[in-house]
């Protein structure tokens, strides 16, 4: 009797081990499915379960709406943010990770600070100052977003430097490398994964931003999120919205896939 109960319990436990991961996969995937369906539908009216006509109407309309230029602008914005936030994050992360500061508490709080602040509040405050000083909107957007990317780059690099031994760099110095050579040839190659992660996160801050670009740019800087926002909020054109949303999600996903492949290949190369 007891044995039967134990067997039943084990069977239930086994099925739970399959059901829970399946539910979690469902939770992560399901919100994105409407995008895939609508982006391939040229007609999907009423309440029918699947599109009546498949086609690329959404893609044609997205091209007409200036999708390519908007994606390029988003890419530039992401690259500019990464170009500022990554080197500054590497420097600060090195100081924090290798404990080069006598009192790291205050700098740490400042460097984490932007996480707590709402981007819209910062953008709103700067708007007046920018207008009075005549700073171009693009420059202001890049600066504000770099500030919001800095916690990510700094603390990714802090964790990376924590895992690296400063003695390696010192050995390179003893062997005759200049401090710059030692940093470039010894430490940075060992920190590649952290460096790529930090750059990717900073890029994503610029690439995905909506609120700061909208508030400071005043609708003049048309990035991909601007097109998605205006299409989703007012057009009722679900095919267009889905296509724009999908095309803003695919480039980072593809970059991620490439990097993951390269990293796993390098790992197997090291092991063999």
């Amino acid at each position: 009797m007891r044995r039967q109960a134990a067997v039943r319990w084990r069977a239930a436990h086994q099925s739970l081990r399959t059901v829970i991961p399946a539910l979690l996969v469902f939770w992560l995937v399901i919100p994105l499915t409407p995008l895939l369906l609508w982006a391939g539908a040229s007609r999907w009216s009423g309440t029918s379960r699947l599109p009546q006509d498949l086609g690329l109407r959404g893609w044609q309309e997205a091209l007409d709406a200036g999708m390519i230029a908007a994606l390029a602008r988003s890419g530039l914005l992401g690259a500019a943010v990464a170009l500022i936030a990554t080197p500054l994050g590497v420097m600060a992360g090195r100081a924090l990770g290798w404990r080069l500061l006598r009192r790291p508490a205050l700098p740490s709080v400042v460097l984490l600070g932007p996480v707590v602040l709402a981007p819209f509040a910062v953008a709103m405050g700067l708007d007046v100052v920018i207008l009075r000083l005549g700073v171009p909107g693009e420059v202001a957007v890049v600066l504000v977003l770099s500030v919001f990317a800095l916690p990510y780059t700094t603390f990714t690099m802090r964790a990376t430097y924590l895992g690296l031994d400063p003695a390696l760099e010192e050995q390179a110095r003893v062997l005759g490398a200049s401090s710059r050579q030692a940093r470039r040839r010894v430490t940075l190659p060992a920190a590649t994964t952290g460096l790529v992660t930090a750059t990717g996160l900073a890029f994503l801050v610029g690439w995905s931003d909506y609120a700061v670009t909208l508030l400071i740019g005043g609708g003049q800087i048309v990035t991909a999120p601007m097109l998605i926002g205006s299409s989703a909020a007012g057009s009722g054109n679900d095919a267009l919205t889905s296509t724009l949303a999908l095309s803003a999600s695919l480039p980072p996903l593809m970059a991620l896939a490439v990097f993951t492949c390269a990293a796993s290949r390098r790992r197997t190369a090291v092991h063999s």
Binding site: R17, I20, P21, A22, L24, V25, W27, L28, P31, L32, T33, P34, L35, T47, R49, L88, M91, A92, A95, L96, L100, L101, R102, P107, V110, L111, G113, P114, V116, L117, A118, P119, F120, A121, V122, M124, G125, L126, V128, V129, L143, V144, V147, L150, T154, L204, Y210, A211, L214, P225, I228, G229, A232, T241, S242, A245, A248, P252, L253, L256
Partner: protein, 291 residues
């Protein structure tokens, strides 16, 4: 050979000077940008920086729309708290499955990273297409549009909360996984040798080990949800709106007299986020010490 006592001292001083130089650019940029912004927002909310007319110290920005401000604060807190609870619970479940090396681990981690790269705005647009009364869920469930619950733009911010919980659960999961990692595998073996069953391993080993990461990532999710504009803008109802949506609406109002009210809304949102951080950080520190 004896080492001169001052040489290590000098070396440390040089290293510390180098450290200060290394953090200075990042710290200065953050202080300059956020400092200017916050001072301006507070000054505007108190009537000291009007677009037109004479500056005059007053709390009108806060009091004129006190009722709306209160409703928006409540809406924001409700949305952020629910989204945080959901994200923490689901994120921790994902992390549990992954660190226990359950089925589909690689797929789950890959999906979580993928979800993290998707912009919130895309998530919001997709959630709208999924949950609205002519959305995919309604079409596939066969429930008529008339009797479909008001998930998007309804009385309760369901869609906003679900979108935030969706994306942030991936964030919580990845933070917990990366903080627990190898340590859990070792400790779990020890616990198993000492006779702890799976449930005891979860409660006595995994939970305390991941508590600091879970608490700090939950704090980040909470303050993010308080400050996000686009998700509630696309998925929320017109009234009461959360603080960021209210602030943006007042900020872009043609009546420039609404500027102090917009700034006051931003001040309230920032104050709430800072308060949450100040209240939670001692807890995070204690959990880390207990670990």
């Amino acid at each position: 050979m004896t080492q001169h006592p001052t040489s290590t001292h000098d070396l440390r001083a040089i290293r510390q000077l180098g450290g200060a130089r290394l953090v200075a650019p990042a710290v200065l940029l953050i202080v300059a940008v956020t400092g200017t912004a916050l001072v301006t927002v507070v000054a505007t909310s108190l009537g000291l920086l009007p677009l037109v007319g004479q500056p005059r110290l007053s709390t009108d920005g806060f009091t004129t729309l006190a009722g709306d401000l209160q409703a928006a604060t409540y809406e924001s807190l409700l949305t952020a708290a629910t989204a945080t609870l959901l994200a923490a619970a689901i994120g921790f479940t994902i992390a549990t499955v992954v660190v226990r090396a359950g089925r589909g681990v690689r797929l789950l981690v890959g999906l979580a990273v993928a979800v993290l790269t998707v912009p919130h705005l895309v998530g919001a647009a997709a959630t709208g297409l999924l949950l609205s009364d002519v959305g995919l869920a309604q079409r596939w469930s066969g429930i008529s549009a008339a009797s479909w619950p008001e998930l998007v733009g309804g009385r309760w911010p369901w869609a906003t909360v679900l979108e935030l919980a969706w994306k942030e659960s991936a964030f919580v999961a990845l933070v917990v996984i990366s903080s627990v990692g190898r340590q859990y595998a070792d400790l779990r073996e020890v616990a198993a040798v000492l006779g702890a069953g799976p449930r005891a391993q979860w409660r006595r080993v995994l939970l305390p080990l991941s508590a600091p990461a879970l608490a700090s990532s939950s704090l980040i999710v909470f303050v993010y949800s308080l400050g996000t504009y686009e998700v509630a803008r696309l998925l929320g109802r017109a009234y009461p709106e959360p603080l960021p949506v209210m602030a943006y609406r007042l900020f872009t109002d043609i009546d420039v007299a609404a500027r102090p009210q917009a700034a006051a809304t931003a001040v309230v949102a920032t104050g709430l986020a800072l308060l949450a951080a100040v209240m939670t950080l001692p807890l995070v520190r204690r959990l880390r010490a207990d670990r």
